[in-house]
Every structure is written in structure tokens, then in C-alpha cells.
């Protein structure tokens, strides 16, 4: 059979000098589910963005259904029959499902929109592909799993033949993931081709026919899934064996460090985001907060660290209620914060590494006196941190934005953990960074736990939570719905129903 998609020798260099693809070639057979796996930064998303016309390759060729094509934008791609469902869903929040589905191909009555026909077509498509979506509702009122279904349907109503899904399960619960896989298998049956980007090998095993492994911007191998094992793929992905074992628990769990009492928070749209959260975090333990992204985790972290105000309840740290205190005051009490969005909160990309490293302590000695900054000491200090946290940067003056994602996270972690914190709020500390940086972060968190720090680990990556935590709380829709002691046999399936809100147990 001729491949439906073939890419040859794709090279892509980003403006900041990062080389994402170094000569990638790949064939996708029609009517298959083809997984594209690799660590974050391996270049798989970039490659698919090139195929979908969102990025332009610096070199290389693309063939679709045997014909050489140049895809300058996503419009071109859709016309050819290529659709893509992105990690971050691309829907207009204030428009209805039907309007989103037919955006760009709107049914018309003369020069006007045909609103009735739009609704009817949406319902027809929903039935035809057996993907149930509420056509009349606005996107912002739907749960994330349904929104993703709208995304898939959006590609299908455009009659695409090749559908690219970029890490579709990262925002889903295990149960929702299973539903998605059934959908994908159904689409394969009616002749669609699917490229499935992932770094979760279990999922690849569960759903894909073929798998291509990428590493450092290159294709390492393409294999039939039935002829390969998770371990083989993992080896190809990182070039070494990965351990999924849980870390040893600390024996020195001490007295309580942080107590959160009846914490509630409503956002600007007056929606309750957190509802009477209660928990206690002890010294020398890692308390994992598991849950699907967007269930209030980041708000929780930002309230504890003082970045978000107007919440109710109590947050007791070192005997004081720190709720509503300014971020500086909270930091000075010994709280460190590895934020969820390092580009937004964790770093200022346009300024130097050394200036990034002192944002929480520039006002203290030896970095400044009563008036002036002491650049000599700042530079000296930055050099030390760069060395001890092995931050790969040309020098302390280099713009943080010119560093790789993993190294930006190292800058953040270096700053946060060098303040000798007693409480560490780690919000998605390894999201989107490479394996070795992830290892460093995990190692450091364990080191601090052993030294007696209290750590709140918020992560949507279940594996990470299960690997590191002493205890695990599950958060769903702003409530703590489950509490688990992390025994060696506790696994993702146990937490899944709680993450999805199906099960709920009374806690504390």
C-alpha cells in the first residue's frame, strides 16, 4: 500500500536557535493508528505542526497521498484532508458547539449565517460519527472531555482523512481515555488514518498499530506495535532503561508544617474553584495532589503562596494564618514555589539568568545594601547556582529565554530550592521538560524531604505522584474527594474513579 503521508528529511530550527527536527523522515500507512512517541522536546509535536502547516520547515519535503505538497498554513492542510487535535483545545469559549464545529465552513443563507442549518448539521454529524456533543451549548460550559470530542468532530466534519492527535490523553482521566480509544478505533474502521502523539507507552500499546520513536529531533525506529514491548520503546526513547518504581519512603515524618482549613475560592466569573479544602502536611513528607488539570490545583498553589487573593478559610504555617499575606511575606517565612507555568510566573525570558535568580532576594544582603544592587556578589552567586544545579547556559548574563525548557526549569528550581525552604509548593514541576531535568527535580525533592522539608506536590502526571508521594489526595472540581497512603501496590486505576468524580469518600 502507498503511504498516505510521507515526510522526508525535515529540518526545523526555531528563531531562538533550538533545533527541533534534524532530518526527520517518516511514512504513515492509510487506515492505521500510528503512534509517534518520544520524550518532551524530541521533536514530535514540531514535526506534526509542520505537517499541519502551523510551522514551516527549514528543509525537507512532504508527500500526501503520493503527491508532493507544500503546506503553508492549516487551511491548506485541512483542504488536503489533514486535521489536527491539539493539546490545548482550540475552541472559542463564547461560541456554541455548533458554531465552533462549522467555523470557517458556515452554512449560509445569502450573505447571512444559517443558524438553524448549522445546528441541524451539527446534530447530524454527531450521530453519524457517534460522538455525542450538545450542539446548542457554549464551549465554556462543557467539561474538558466533551470539549475534546468537539475538537475531533470539528476535524471530521471537514472530511479529513488523516487526523493528528497531539497528546490527547494528557487532559483526560483514565476512564475518559478509554472512551477516546474506542472512538479512535471506530474511526479506523471507517477508513480514517490517525497519528497519535504520546509519551505514554501503555497507551501506545493499547491503541496503535505502528509506532515511530523519536529522540533529539530524529527518528530512531518505526515498528509494528505487536512486535514490540513497552520496555523496548522506553529504551529507544531515552537510550536507557527507565525505572517506574516508587521511591523509598522517608522514615522521619515529623510534626505538622502546613494546615489548610476550609479553604474556598471563587474566581472572577464567580464560579467556585475550591470548596472547603482541608488537609495537613507534615515535615518530611511529600503530599501528592492528584487530579486532572483544571480542577483547582493551580489556584490552590497560588493561594498558599499569596499570588491569588480573595479566598476564604485558613492556611496555618508556623503558627500563623498566612492567608491573604503578600507573596514576599510568605516567602520570607520559608515557603518556596515551583510554579505550574514557568514562562508566566517562574521566569522573565527577556532578562539575564542572574537577574532571574535573585527575584526573591535582591533586596537582601549581600545582593544589595540600603540603596544599590551589588552586581559583583549577584554574579558570583549566580555562577555558584549555575554550577551546582548544572544549568546549561553560556554565562550568567545569557537571556533565560535563550535556554532550553529543561534549563529554564533548572533556573526556577535553583532559585526556589536555594532559599533553604521549609515548605515547597511544587506545581507540575516536571511538565514539559526532558528526562535528565526531570530526574534532577525528583532527586532534589526527595533530598529536601529527607532534610525535613514539607512538600506539596501537585501533578497531573499520575506516575509522578505515585512515584514520589508519601500520601496522595485526589482533587476533583475543587474538592478533595479521596485520600490515600501511597502503598507500593496503589496504582492509577485506584485513583481514576476519584479523579473523574465517580467515587468520593468522606475525608478527615
Amino acid at each position: 500500500m502507498n503511504p498516505i503521508l510521507e515526510v522526508k528529511d525535515i529540518v526545523k530550527v526555531y528563531p531562538n536557535g533550538v533545533v527541533a527536527n534534524r532530518g526527520v523522515s517518516l511514512k504513515v500507512e492509510p487506515g492505521t493508528i500510528h503512534a509517534l512517541v518520544g520524550e518532551n522536546g524530541a521533536g514530535k509535536s514540531t514535526l506534526m505542526k509542520i505537517v499541519f502547516g502551523l510551522e514551516r520547515p527549514d528543509e525537507g519535503e512532504i508527500y500526501f497521498k503520493g503527491k508532493k505538497v507544500k503546506i503553508f498554513d492549516s487551511h491548506e492542510a485541512i483542504k488536503l484532508g489533514i486535521g489536527m487535535v491539539h493539546q490545548h483545545l482550540m475552541l472559542a469559549p463564547d461560541l456554541t458547539v455548533a458554531e465552533n464545529l462549522f467555523l470557517g465552513i458556515e452554512p449560509r443563507k445569502g450573505v447571512f449565517l444559517d443558524i438553524k442549518k448549522t445546528l441541524k448539521s451539527a446534530e447530524d454529524a454527531s450521530k453519524y460519527y457517534s460522538l455525542s456533543v450538545p450542539s446548542r451549548l457554549k464551549i465554556k460550559d462543557l467539561p474538558i472531555g466533551v470539549q475534546q470530542r468537539v475538537e475531533i468532530l470539528k476535524a471530521l466534519v471537514r472530511e479529513v482523512e488523516l487526523l493528528i492527535l497531539d497528546e490527547p490523553t494528557s487532559i483526560l482521566t483514565p476512564q475518559e481515555t478509554e472512551v477516546l480509544f474506542e472512538t479512535l478505533k471506530g474511526l479506523k474502521k471507517i477508513g480514517k488514518t490517525i497519528v497519535f502523539i504520546s509519551h505514554k507507552l501503555k497507551e501506545v500499546k493499547a491503541v496503535a498499530d505502528l509506532v515511530t520513536v523519536m529522540r533529539d529531533g530524529k527518528v530512531v525506529a518505526t515498528q509494528m506495535v505487536e512486535n514490540t514491548t513497552e520496555k523496548d520503546m522506553a529504551y529507544l526513547m531515552v537510550g536507557r532503561d527507565l525505572s517506574f518504581e516508587k521511591v523509598e519512603q522517608s522514615l522521619k515524618v515529623g510534626e505538622s508544617s502546613l494546615i489548610v482549613k476550609d479553604l474556598s475560592y471563587m474566581n472572577l466569573e464567580r464560579r467556585p474553584v475550591l470548596n472547603k479544602i482541608n488537609f495537613e502536611l507534615k515535615k518530611g513528607e511529600i503530599l501528592g495532589i492528584a487530579g486532572i488539570e483544571g480542577n483547582g490545583q493551580t489556584e490552590l498553589a497560588e493561594i498558599i503562596t499569596g499570588l491569588r487573593t480573595s479566598s476564604y478559610g485558613e492556611i496555618i504555617f508556623k503558627g500563623d494564618n498566612i492567608l491573604g499575606h503578600l507573596p514576599r511575606k510568605i516567602r520570607e517565612k520559608g515557603v518556596a514555589h515551583i510554579p505550574e507555568d514557568r514562562m508566566k510566573h517562574g521566569a522573565a525570558l527577556d532578562i539575564s539568568t542572574q537577574e532571574n535568580l535573585i527575584v526573591d532576594r535582591y533586596q537582601k544582603k549581600p545582593f544589595s545594601n540600603i540603596l544599590f544592587l551589588n552586581w559583583k556578589n549577584i554574579n558570583q552567586y549566580a555562577k555558584e547556582l549555575i554550577k551546582s544545579f548544572s544549568i546549561a547556559t553560556p554565562n550568567a548574563h545569557a537571556r533565560v529565554g535563550s535556554l532550553s525548557g529543561g534549563n529554564i526549569q533548572r533556573v526556577v528550581v535553583a532559585r526556589e530550592l536555594s532559599s533553604s525552604p521549609e515548605l515547597i509548593i511544587a506545581d507540575q514541576p516536571t511538565m514539559g521538560i526532558d528526562v535528565s531535568a526531570t530526574d534532577t527535580v525528583h532527586r532534589l525533592l526527595i533530598e529536601f524531604r529527607n532534610k525535613g522539608a514539607a512538600i506539596l506536590l501537585i501533578s497531573a502526571d499520575l506516575e509522578e505522584v505515585l512515584k514520589l508521594s508519601t500520601r496522595i489526595l485526589v482533587i476533583y472540581s475543587g474538592e478533595i474527594v479521596g485520600e490515600f497512603v501511597n502503598t507500593p501496590d496503589l496504582n492509577g486505576k485506584d485513583l481514576g474513579p476519584y479523579m473523574l468524580g465517580i467515587k468520593k469518600k468522606e475525608v478527615m
Binding site: H75, I78, M84, H86, L91, A92, L95, N100, G104, F112
Partner: protein, 302 residues
């Protein structure tokens, strides 16, 4: 004072409100349309000024109102597109490029005015045209309101009609749907092959068109000459009006009338023995006061 009160409750006062609301209404619609697509049209002041001048110049040269209207609108549209090009394609900070474009309009109009008329202040030596005043046969006969509603400039009637055009455009056409989608989530639009750049440019072009009408009205209706920097901040006041109106048709209409009412009051206060400097600053002070009220109110809501 009594005389002023009397005149405020007169038919002439309503007439004045409509007259001074016209340029603000156009400008606010312009700001609102670009805002729906997620762009703040900072250059609207310059757009109005440039169109006001080009309209006068072309009408003096051609003696043809339709040609003046078309070229004047084109001038505004192209100015708006410049803002889009620089801020989106060349990645300039939109406020800074807006400042630059407003300066460009201010300098270029005086530059060209001098070349065309030998005067740097006003265009009175140019024999320019004005848009016609329209007397509406039936309404004209109505008691009281007839005199307030009839006898306005053609562009004044068109400005109120523009609110309806704006509404239909934004809510009832595919273009409007796309403009809203781009404003709410540019990725949503681009993921289905709608060019964010083109859609925003289109919204800016429409914004420039309405801004241009505001400018044309100022120099070819409100008065019949072009004067240096004659827009006098209306383009910026419109940003405030559109914000207060929520960038939606009815809101923008009401906010513009509110601002127009303030301006009309200022004009009527001129007969009082108040220094003219204080009268002149009323519209700007009122803008700030309205923004404060708006902000306090929305703050309470949240």
C-alpha cells in the same frame, strides 16, 4: 444659569446632542469592531484625522462628494491596515506603533495642508465641500421632536444606522462569527484554517472605515474645513466609550450618547461666565469620570 437650563430643555439641545454624538459614535463603533477581533485600535485618532484631511483635500480638488467619501474612507482603512501590519506582521508593540501612527497623521496632515493651501492651521482657503443636510419629510412635520430629529447631516443619520450595520455584521454573518472567534481564541480560528491575520486585518479595515466616517463628518459636516489636530482626542475618548459599552452595539450606542450629552452640555455652558478653558476640558474630565464609574460598577459585580 436660568437661561442655560432653559436652553438645555430645548429642542436645540437634543439637536446638538445628535450632532456631537455622531463623530464619537463612528469612532466607538470602530474601536468596538476591532476589539471584537481582539485588537485595540489605538490609531483611531490618527485615522480620523487623516480621513478628515483627505476628504477635504479630495473634495476641493474634485468637487465630487462621492469620490471624496470613497478616497477619504480608503485613507482611513489604509491607516488602520498599517497598524495591523506593523503590530502583527512586524511584531511591534501595538501601543507604540499606535502612538507613531497618530503622530504620523498629525505631522502628515499639517505637512500636506501646507503644501496644498500654504496654511498650517486651517484649510479655509481650500474650497472644500460638505455632506448634505437631510430634511426628512414626515418627521420634519412632527411637533417638537421634528425639529430635533430632522435637518441633520447625512452622515449623522448614517452613524445611527451604522449601529444596526455593526450588529448585523457581528452577529448575523459568517464574517462576524469569524471575527468573534478570532477575538475569543485565535487558535480556534487558525485551527480550522481561518487566517487570524486576515480576519484581524479585516476587522481593522472595518474599524478604519467607521473611524474614517467619523473623520469625514468632522471636516465635511460638523464644520466645513480641516483644522490642525481637529480630532482633539475623540479617537481616544472612543476607546473609553467602547470599553464602557462592552464593545457591543447597544452598549456602544448608549455610551456614545452619554459622551455626546456631556459634550453638548459643555457647549451650552459656554454662555455662562465660566472661563472657556474649563469648558474645553469637560469632555476629557468626563471621560475619566465615566471610566471611574464604570470600573467601580464592574468591580462591585465581581
Amino acid at each position: 444659569m436660568e437661561a442655560v437650563l432653559k436652553s438645555i430643555f430645548s429642542i436645540g439641545f437634543v439637536f446638538t446632542i445628535l450632532r456631537v454624538t455622531t463623530p464619537l459614535l463612528y469612532a466607538s463603533i470602530g474601536v468596538a469592531i476591532s476589539n471584537q477581533s481582539g485588537t485595540v485600535n489605538i490609531a483611531l485618532e490618527g485615522i480620523m484625522l487623516f480621513s478628515a484631511f483627505i476628504g477635504v483635500l479630495v473634495s476641493a480638488l474634485t468637487k465630487n462628494l462621492i469620490i471624496s467619501f470613497l478616497i477619504g474612507s480608503l485613507a482611513g482603512i489604509s491607516f488602520a491596515l498599517l497598524l495591523g501590519y506593523f503590530s502583527m506582521k512586524l511584531k511591534a508593540n501595538i501601543i507604540l506603533s499606535g502612538i507613531a501612527l497618530n503622530m504620523l497623521a498629525s505631522g502628515l496632515t499639517v505637512f500636506l495642508l501646507y503644501l496644498a493651501s500654504g496654511d498650517k492651521g486651517v484649510s479655509s482657503s481650500l474650497n472644500s465641500l460638505a455632506f448634505p443636510v437631510v430634511h426628512i419629510p414626515l418627521i420634519k412635520e412632527l411637533p417638537y421632536i421634528g425639529k430635533a430629529l430632522s435637518g441633520h447631516n447625512l452622515l449623522t443619520y448614517l452613524s445611527f444606522l451604522s449601529v444596526i450595520i455593526f450588529y448585523i455584521l457581528i452577529y448575523k454573518t459568517p464574517i462576524g462569527l469569524r471575527i468573534r472567534a478570532v477575538g475569543q481564541n485565535p487558535n480556534a480560528a487558525s485551527s480550522v484554517g481561518i487566517s487570524v491575520f486576515k480576519t484581524k486585518m479585516l476587522a481593522l479595515a472595518l474599524s478604519g472605515f467607521f473611524g474614517a466616517l467619523g473623520g469625514l463628518y468632522l471636516s465635511m459636516g460638523y464644520v466645513t474645513w480641516f483644522g490642525r489636530d481637529m480630532v482633539a482626542g475623540r479617537g481616544f475618548i472612543a476607546i473609553a466609550a467602547s470599553t464602557i459599552g462592552g464593545h457591543k452595539p447597544i452598549g456602544v450606542l448608549l455610551a456614545s450618547i452619554l459622551f455626546g450629552l456631556t459634550n453638548a452640555l459643555a457647549i451650552y455652558f459656554k454662555s455662562l461666565r465660566v472661563p472657556s478653558e474649563f469648558i474645553e476640558l469637560i469632555p476629557y474630565l468626563a471621560t475619566i469620570v465615566f471610566l471611574v464609574f464604570y470600573s467601580l460598577r464592574t468591580k462591585e459585580d465581581k
